[in-house]
Amino acid sequence: MKRLIALAMLTATMTVLGGCGVKPWVKPYERAHLADPIMSWNRDPVAQAYIDHVYDAREGARGGLGASGGGCGCN
């Protein structure tokens, strides 16, 4: 578990440090599909938050659900 955290942190760091030179392989004008609302991680925040709460209240497990990113990549 600690190894996993360390690896994840290291990947994030290297992404930050080494990210400047890599060219994106999906061009911004190819993002029509990714910008579609059906490809969003959280299309209906209110409904999603509610069902997450329903599970959280009835299960022993919790967490790990947040995601943001994708979309149109504009600006």
């Binding site: 490809m39 209906d44 022993g60 995601a67």
Partner: protein, 377 residues
């Protein structure tokens, strides 16, 4: 270490490119959960609006009206009703290609107060193909008990979140999430009790007079991977897996798969299946040999070994496709989920005619409904 990462992220923000704030929208939802003797329903209202060019503000008002005669309530108490009100205020600040979010949530009911503060920062990189998110949350709860007004115990919560969203191809997106949560304080439910064998031939049981035999700390970790793929006819298929484990000995696997289908006329259909399986906490048992068998004892079914399956269906209709006045878009939505819980080592102690510990294993099903309208402006 954490501060170092955040520092690196903030430092690498450049002014040239920028990410995008969430859209302005308002949602009004009616939600209802019904099953296992419990009915909870109420509204949830959300409003989000940009203020200036770099800030988006969001507010949510949510109510749970509870009417409960659950298996736990039927065993040791009588049916009760309760009302919980939750209010959230949040702000998102956009700077360069990073978004910083702050939010505060207050939840109030007659015997439980919870306050949560969350902060997170989200950074786009690699030509906006990658989004890295770091989040931290802190919670302060006060646990009460309806029969004893002087009863007030605190619970301290902290959570740490790390997320990565990666565009793999023009049709495929991946997300990885890790969340660690630590709780400290009174972590048990003050209304529930464990039970133990009693009677001359140990075929009966007694409920313990108090339930305060939980560890007062709990640390958990959850790691989740999720994929979403765009289908050429304007559909999407997604799948995810989450692994959970904690210091109470619970391990859980969550599998989810779904398909979204769209019709040109503005209808969107969602189909979902979810399978959840969990193994029990170390100190959990349906029935203990005697009242003081262990230091820590629990009979909460949420800590038992069980499986739950959910089948979900949702339908949405875009009714304002060309806008109307200041509204850009609107949708009417109805989501319905059917859940089935099956417990491997939690028994229905209210069943009559059984020896203690021989009652049938408990199972129940529940229906969750969400009806809402969304408006974008």
């Amino acid at each position: 270490m954490r501060r170092l990462i955040v520092g690196l992220l903030l430092g690498s923000v450049t002014a040239a490119q920028a990410a995008v704030l969430p859209e302005d929208r308002a949602d009004a939802m009616y939600h209802e959960y019904s099953g296992g003797g419990v009915t909870v329903n109420g509204p949830s209202i959300l409003v989000r609006k940009k203020v200036g060019d770099n800030v988006s503000v969001v507010g949510n008002y949510y109510v749970d009206s509870v009417s409960s005669a659950s298996i736990d309530v039927k065993l040791s108490a009588s049916k009760y009703t309760e009302r919980r009100t939750e209010r959230t205020l949040g702000v998102d600040y956009l700077r360069g290609n990073a978004i910083m979010s702050l939010s505060y949530t207050n939840s109030v009911e007659s015997d439980y107060d919870a306050n949560t503060a969350n902060v997170s920062i989200s950074q786009d990189m690699f030509g906006d193909l990658t989004t890295v998110t770091l989040g931290f949350g802190r919670g302060w709860d006060t646990v009460g008990q309806s029969t004893d007004p002087s009863f007030k115990e605190p619970v301290d919560r902290r959570n740490y979140r790390l997320g990565l969203s990666q565009i793999l191809t023009k049709n495929l997106i991946l997300s990885l999430n890790y969340e660690a949560i630590t709780d400290e304080g009174l972590l048990n439910n003050p209304y529930r009790s464990y039970r133990f064998y009693s009677g001359p031939s140990n075929d009966q049981f007694q409920l313990a007079s108090e339930n305060f035999k939980y560890p007062n700390t709990r640390t958990s970790g959850a790691a989740r991977i999720s994929l979403k793929y765009y289908l050429p006819w304007r559909g999407a298929v997604h799948g995810s897996y989450r692994y959970f484990s904690d210091t109470w000995g619970i391990q859980a696997d969550t599998y989810e798969a779904g398909y979204t289908h769209t019709l040109d006329s503005g209808w969107v259909l969602d189909f979902k299946y979810r399978y959840y399986t969990q193994t029990k906490a170390d100190f959990y048992a349906d029935i203990f040999p005697r009242e003081d068998a262990q230091n820590f004892m629990a009979r909460d079914k949420e800590l038992s070994t069980y499986q739950a399956q959910t089948v979900g269906f949702g339908v949405s209709y875009d009714f304002l496709r060309n806008g109307w006045g200041f509204l850009d878009r609107g949708s009417l939505n109805l989501d319905f989920d059917h859940m089935r819980f099956h417990y491997d080592n939690f028994r229905d102690a209210t069943a009559a005619g059984y020896d203690a510990g021989q009652e049938p294993l408990y199972e129940f099903s529940a229906n969750v409904t969400r009806a809402f309208i969304s408006l974008w402006y």
